[in-house]
Amino acid sequence: MRARDLLLTFGRTTYPSVRWLVGGVFPLGVAVAIVVRLLWPGAKGGHIALLAFEGGVAYLWAFFMPASLLLARDARQLRIPRLEAVAAAAVGLAALATVGIGAALGKATLGETSAAALTALVLASGFAFSLLPGPVAMLIGLLPAASDAARRVLPVPTLDDPRSTIWWAVAAAGFGVICAIRWHGLIRLDDREAERSSAMVMRLRGKNATGHWAGSGAGVRTVDRRRPGWLQPEANLRRTGPAHPVASLRVALGGGFVPQTLRGLCRRGLTMAGPMLVFIAAMMLILATKPDATVSSLGVIYALGTPMLAGLAFMLALGLPLVSALTVRQRWSTSQRELAVLGVLPGLGTPDRVRQALLRAALARPVVINLLLTVAGWIIAQRMNLSVIATLALVGAPLLCLLAGVALTLDALGPQPLRGWALGLVCSALTIVVLISTITGMLASQLRQGGPWAGSPALWSIYLAVALALTTVLGWIAARGARGMARQPHPFLAHG
């Protein structure tokens, strides 16, 4: 087993889109950790640096490293045991290296052992996220907020509590066992079983199968095929036809655009809110069985509800425009599929009318949602008398997401969309700005203060400059896309 093979395993087993994404997020976490550590030498700076690094670790182990499982499974199918061993060894070595770096980073603040335990926990939970079925994996994403809320009723230690090392080590071991069991089971799946597997890594394999941002959507179609019947959207065709071009185009765009029946809407709502409902029920149960708890139920709901609502708002504000734009981009990447139907479908009217209907179909939801979030952010900021920067963060983030949705959709509908790397760069920058804005707004509203950096003009000047630069870039992308779209004889022409 050569060291080179081990090192190259992850690069060879991941799709370029994943490499781009993780290659951006993980080094960013490390870079933020280093910069914060250098500029902020105290214990608080150390904690923030470690948390930034752990964010990168979670991403790395949830989306990048699990690809080795796919290699191990394929190697087993192809009867190449040596390759299977290489994949497993690469995972082991990468885990050791990750824990080692985490321990070194946290040495000065938490201590080596504690930092290693925390890194191991993040790593194992990230890996478990990829090996478990979607709804269960979503619960893992809620664990930080859950532990924060549980601290009010259970003796959950804080970050710098010496007892935390044991908690983290035990939790890491628990996740480690889950990972080992799931890995062992998943690599033994034959093709038919793998098709049906609900493990996130198996589902993401199909989704990323296009290999790049502008993929033809072949992978998405595989996911459509694999999705169980009860999770399939239930299209409502009642208001479609030549008299309803917008609704008709929403059907043709697929995914989240498809108008749903009431039953389909309820099912989708329950699927999305289900894990949260389970979590809230669990917290209520804790409260009910612990009547001597010193905290009011309102306090728990507030502590739990605020991060959840902020998370939901973040997902809606950012996720909806990006997913919508990427879906359109996929549909427009080939003339073989939906465009082959739409391009010769009568009754949609003149090219100008179709363009308008298409933009309304593609943009209505992200625009309306982000306008509502902007108003909500403004009301919260006014009611809580937040500082200017916190207000800007709360109001500006959804507006930026709105602009991104418009820009990237116009870009996708134009003849020459952005290259994959440029799109990745824009999306990463947008995610970071919106994430910082959401956290700023959330902390400011929770602490009823000016926000984490209200007293640091240098920091918020940088934030504003980056947000303005991003706005300019998005404006340019939107104008370029709109010009390209207007030049085309009709809007159903695939990318050149």
């Binding site: 459509d224 043709a252 697929g254 599929r337 082959a340 391009g343 010769v344 009754g347 009709h490």
Partner: protein, 298 residues
């Protein structure tokens, strides 16, 4: 009066035509100035090897891609700017019918049917039943053959005057293929539907095509009536000593290891084979459609 003029123009314009159509991808030319027109009521089989440019030509002719050069017209209108009336008269089945996989077969037909003024819902329902396609199963979950058949039903139920099929039989079993060909022949014979279909299955061409167009490396090598090919083209074999006398105009030219030469040649306007065929030792072999395809494409 205007309506009369329009009707007259419709009758004069071929249902589908390409003039000097050229296109390329990433620096490679895929179509070289194609000129092709379909006569009303004809069944044109477009034949060529994989990658010959058949699908690109079809998409360019239907306005689904903007060609780098030339123009395509559908019922006399520029393909890229067809109006709803022209679109309602044509139906197209792409090579891989994977569109709208989130709908069931019944939903797809219901959805698409709303846009066509002459939609035959009864035919769609009956054919779905006859071809044993589960109407309430998601298209994404159907087999490739079943999806192709759903798309064929979609195309036929709109009662098109122009039917364009891109390798329609690729995913079909022999029984389904035979049924499809029968349906296409019936439409052409009884309703006068003009059909363009691409394939590399020569037997399909022999069964239903009235005309044949042969696309090779982006060039249209021949376009003629299907019945004419046997009479019009032949293989001319010349021994090594006579290979210098080979005619310059030949559809293909292949030199053998012994120096002899095989050429696919065409009769001239007077119905004569080239001069070289009359040399001593020269041989002219009749070519079936499949042999002609292989000779030219090899």
């Amino acid at each position: 009066m205007n309506a009369m003029l329009k009707d007259a123009a419709d009758r004069l314009d071929p249902p589908l035509a390409a003039h000097g159509l050229g296109h390329g991808y990433e620096g490679a030319t895929v179509l070289h100035g194609i000129d092709l027109a379909l006569a009303p009521g004809s069944v044109l089989g477009l034949i060529g090897r994989n990658g010959a440019g058949k699908s690109t030509l079809i998409r360019a002719m239907l306005g689904l891609l903007e060609p780098a050069a030339g123009e395509a017209r559908v019922f006399g209108q520029p393909a890229l700017r067809m109006d709803d009336q022209a679109k309602a008269r044509l139906a197209y089945v792409p090579q891989q019918p994977e569109a709208l996989g989130w709908l069931t077969a019944a939903q797809l037909l219901d959805y698409v049917g709303r846009f066509y003024p002459r939609w035959d819902a009864r035919f769609a329902g009956k054919t779905l039943e006859r071809w044993k396609i589960p109407p309430n199963k998601l298209l994404a979950k159907l087999s490739p053959g079943e999806r192709q058949r759903v798309d064929l039903i979609r195309a036929l139920a709109s009662q098109p005057e122009l039917l364009v099929l891109d390798e329609p039989a690729a995913a079909l079993d022999p029984v389904a293929r035979r049924e499809l060909l029968r349906e296409v022949a019936l439409r052409a014979g009884e309703s006068g539907t003009t059909v363009l279909f691409s394939t590399h299955i020569v037997s399909d061409l022999e069964r239903i095509a009235s005309d044949i167009a042969f696309l090779h490396e982006g060039k249209l090598l021949l376009h003629c009536a299907a019945d004419d090919t046997k009479e019009r083209f032949a293989r001319l074999w010349l021994p090594a000593a006579m290979s210098a006398a080979a005619p310059a105009a030949a559809l293909s030219r292949r030199r053998h290891e012994d120096g002899s030469l095989s050429l696919v040649v065409e009769r001239d306007e007077r119905g004569q084979w080239p001069e070289a065929s009359r040399l001593n030792g020269a041989r002219v072999d009749a070519l079936g459609l499949e042999d002609l395809f292989v000779e030219v494409a090899e």
